[in-house]
C-alpha cells in the first residue's frame, strides 16, 4: 500500500530501462505520444498506484479474457502486476470471507481514490435476486463499491448497455451500470471490447489521473468516435457499389463490401478496423464476416445478423421494411384501381345527367 508503480517494479527486480519502456508504451496507449513519456514516468514514480477492484456481475468473462490478451504484453503484465488489483473474482487467489474482506478493506482504506472496473450488467428485477455474490445482490454490491470510487469503468456491452442479458424480453431486468450510479462512468462497449482499448483506458486513468474525453454515451472519443465503416479497408468497394451477394460467391472471394450481407460496420462505433484484434492481426470483416455491431446498444434485438435491414416485427422473421412496404404499395395501387372503376361508373352518370339537362334546355 502507498507505493508508486516504480517502487513496486524496483522491488520486483525490474530495471530502470524496463520501467522507462513501460512508460513509453503507456504513454502511447494513453494517446500521449513521445512527448508524454516524461509525464508518465513522473506520474509512475511519484503517484501512489491506485487500488483497483474489478467487479463481475452478469457477464461471461470475455472482457477479462480480452484484457489479458493485449498486444503490448509489457503493459498488460505490468498493469496486472503492479496494479493493486485488490479484488477480482476471476484472478484473485483468495476466496470466501478473505476475498470479501479484501474488497471491504480496499474500499475503507482508499476512500475516493480507488478505481472500479465493472464487467457485466446488474439485474434489477425481483429485488436483484438473479445475481448474488456472497449473499448480496449485485445491485447492493455495486452501490457499496461505487459510492467512494474515484472512477468507474464499465467493461463491455453488458456493463455499458446491457448486451445479451438486456435483450428482449430482458427477464432479469439487466441494467447497464451508468443507469444505476450517479457518477460519470466510462463506457467501453464491445462483446468483448478490444484488449488494447481497455488497456489504453486504464493507462489513461493511471497516467493522467482523470477521465478520458467521453462522447454523449460516455464512451472514450478516441476509440468510439468513428464507425467501423469509416476506417474499414473494404470501404472503397462500398463506394464503388461492389458488394458480396452470398457467402461463397466470386465477390466474397474478391473481398468486396459485406454491406448486403448485413454488415453493421456503417452503424457501429468502434476501433476494430484501426486497432484490430489479436496483436493487430485481423478483425471480423477482414476475416470475411460482417460486423455484428457488438458495441452498439441493443444489437441482439436488431437481427437477423445477415440481413441489411432488421426483420419487421409481427411479419415473420425474413420480412424487412421493404417487403412490408411493397405489400402496402401494391395494396394502395389496387385500392386506387378499384376507386378508378367506381369513378368511371359515376362519370357515366354525370355525362348522362348533363345530356339530360341539355335535352331539356334545347
Amino acid at each position: 500500500m502507498g507505493q508508486s508503480i516504480w517502487q513496486t517494479m524496483e522491488k520486483k527486480g525490474y530495471s530502470r530501462r524496463e520501467f522507462l519502456q513501460l512508460c513509453t508504451a503507456a504513454a502511447a496507449a494513453a494517446g500521449l505520444g513521445k512527448s508524454g513519456v516524461a509525464q508518465v514516468a513522473s506520474a509512475f514514480q511519484t503517484r501512489e498506484k491506485p487500488a483497483v477492484v474489478w467487479m463481475h456481475f452478469q457477464e461471461c468473462t470475455c472482457c477479462s479474457e480480452s484484457f489479458i490478451r493485449a498486444s503490448h504484453p509489457i503493459v498488460a503484465d505490468a498493469l496486472l502486476d503492479v496494479l493493486s488489483l485488490n479484488y477480482t473474482e476471476t484472478l484473485m487467489a483468495a476466496s470466501g470471507f478473505q476475498a470479501e474482506k479484501s474488497l471491504s478493506d480496499t474500499i475503507r482504506d482508499n476512500k475516493g481514490k480507488y478505481i472500479v472496473l465493472v464487467e457485466g450488467a446488474v439485474p434489477t428485477k425481483d429485488d436483484g435476486v438473479y445475481c448474488m455474490i456472497g449473499g448480496r445482490t449485485a445491485q447492493s454490491i455495486l452501490q457499496t463499491v461505487a459510492a467512494d470510487a474515484a472512477a468507474i469503468v464499465a467493461w463491455g456491452s453488458c456493463a455499458a448497455n446491457g448486451c445479451v442479458q438486456a435483450a428482449r424480453p430482458n427477464p432479469t431486468g439487466a441494467t447497464p451500470i451508468h443507469k444505476l450510479v450517479n457518477k460519470p462512468v466510462i463506457n467501453v462497449p464491445g462483446c468483448p471490447p478490444i484488449a488494447d482499448v481497455m488497456m489504453a483506458v486504464v493507462t489513461h486513468l493511471l497516467v493522467l489521473g482523470k477521465l478520458p474525453a467521453l462522447d454523449s454515451l460516455g464512451r472514450p472519443k478516441e476509440f468510439y468516435g468513428r464507425r467501423v465503416h469509416d476506417t474499414c479497408y473494404r470501404r472503397p468497394n462500398y463506394d464503388a457499389g461492389l458488394f458480396v451477394e452470398s457467402w461463397d460467391d466470386e465477390n466474397a472471394r474478391k473481398g468486396y463490401c459485406l454491406y448486403k450481407m448485413g454488415c453493421r460496420g456503417p452503424v457501429t462505433y468502434n476501433a476494430c478496423s484501426v486497432v484490430r484484434w489479436n496483436e493487430g492481426t485481423s478483425y471480423p470483416i477482414q476475416s470475411g464476416h460482417g460486423c455484428i455491431g457488438c458495441s452498439e446498444d441493443g444489437f441482439w434485438d436488431n437481427g437477423p445478423f445477415y440481413q441489411h435491414l432488421p426483420s419487421f416485427p409481427g411479419f415473420g422473421i425474413e420480412s424487412t421494411a421493404d417487403t412490408v412496404g411493397t405489400i402496402v404499395g401494391v395494396a394502395t395501387l389496387a385500392g386506387v384501381a378499384a376507386h378508378a372503376v367506381v369513378t368511371n361508373v359515376r362519370k357515366h352518370q354525370v355525362i348522362a345527367e348533363v345530356r339530360a339537362e341539355e335535352r331539356k334546355e334545347s
Partner: protein
C-alpha cells in the same frame, strides 16, 4: 355524338339559354407551384436513391473499385436532394404565413366547423363515392389539407432521422443539431430502419396523390391538373 362541353367548364362552346359559367381563380401562386415541383423532383430522387442505398442493385461488377464510384454518387444525390427538399419545405412553411388564402397555414388544420363538415362531405363524395355531387372547394379540400398536415409530420420525421444519420459523416452544424436523436431512438441501426420504412409512406402517398389529382380533373373538369402548372382553377359561378 361528341359533346366537348360535357362535364367541364367549356361553357362558351354552345349557345344556351343558361350556359354554365366558370370563373378563373388564381389558386396556386408561383412560390407554391415552385415548391410543389421542386418537392416532387426531390422526393422522387430521395425515394429512388434511398431505396438503392437500402438495397443496392448488382451493377458494374465487371469493373474494380478504383474504376467507379456509383454507390458514392447515389448517396451524394440522396444527400443533395435532402438538403434541397428541407430548405424547399422551410420556404413553404414561410409561405404558409404570407401566401394567399389557399396557401395559408390554417388550411391544414380542421379548426372550423366548416372544414370538419367538408371532411365528411369529401369522404362521402370522393372517397366512398356514395354521393353524386358534393361541394367542390377551390384550394385544398379539408380532408386533403389534413392529410398534407400528416405528410408534413412525416417530412419532419424523415428530416430529423435523416440528419441524425448524416451527422456521423458531417461536421456542419445543421446535421450536428440532430446527433441526440440517435441514442434516443436506440442507435443508428434503429434510426436507419425507421428512416427506410417511411420511404414507403412516400411511395404510397405519391400513388394516391397523383391518382387523386387526375381523379379530380376527371370527374370535376375544372383544370385540377393544369392548375399546378399555371396556377388557375375554375370555379362554377353561382347562379
Amino acid at each position: 355524338m361528341s359533346s366537348p362541353e360535357i362535364g367541364a367548364g367549356a361553357a362558351p362552346v354552345v349557345q344556351k339559354e343558361h350556359p354554365i359559367e366558370y370563373r378563373r381563380v388564381y389558386v396556386w401562386e408561383l412560390p407554391v407551384r415552385f415548391y410543389h415541383w421542386i418537392n416532387a423532383v426531390a422526393l422522387v430522387m430521395l425515394c429512388v436513391t434511398g431505396y438503392l442505398i437500402g438495397a443496392p442493385i448488382r451493377a458494374f461488377y465487371a469493373a474494380e473499385a478504383w474504376q467507379q464510384y456509383w454507390f458514392g454518387w447515389i448517396r451524394f444525390l440522396h444527400f443533395v436532394s435532402a438538403f434541397v427538399y428541407v430548405f424547399n419545405f422551410l420556404a413553404r412553411l414561410y409561405w404558409g404565413f404570407v401566401g394567399n388564402k389557399y396557401a395559408k397555414w390554417n388550411n391544414f388544420f380542421p379548426l372550423t366547423r366548416r372544414q370538419r363538415d367538408e371532411i365528411v362531405d369529401v369522404i362521402k363524395t370522393d372517397v366512398l363515392q356514395t354521393r353524386m355531387h358534393g361541394t367542390i372547394s377551390t384550394g385544398h379540400n379539408a380532408l386533403a389539407a389534413l392529410i398534407y398536415f400528416f405528410t408534413f409530420l412525416v417530412f419532419c420525421f424523415q428530416t430529423i432521422t435523416g440528419f441524425a444519420l448524416y451527422s456521423s459523416m458531417s461536421n456542419s452544424w445543421l446535421p450536428r443539431m440532430f446527433v441526440w436523436i440517435v441514442p434516443l431512438m436506440g442507435g443508428e441501426f434503429a434510426v436507419r430502419f425507421w428512416h427506410h420504412l417511411f420511404l414507403w409512406f412516400f411511395v404510397c402517398f405519391t400513388i394516391v396523390h397523383v391518382y387523386l389529382a387526375f381523379y379530380h380533373d376527371y370527374i370535376e373538369g375544372r383544370g385540377t391538373i393544369s392548375s399546378i402548372v399555371g396556377g388557375w382553377k375554375f370555379e362554377r359561378e353561382k347562379e
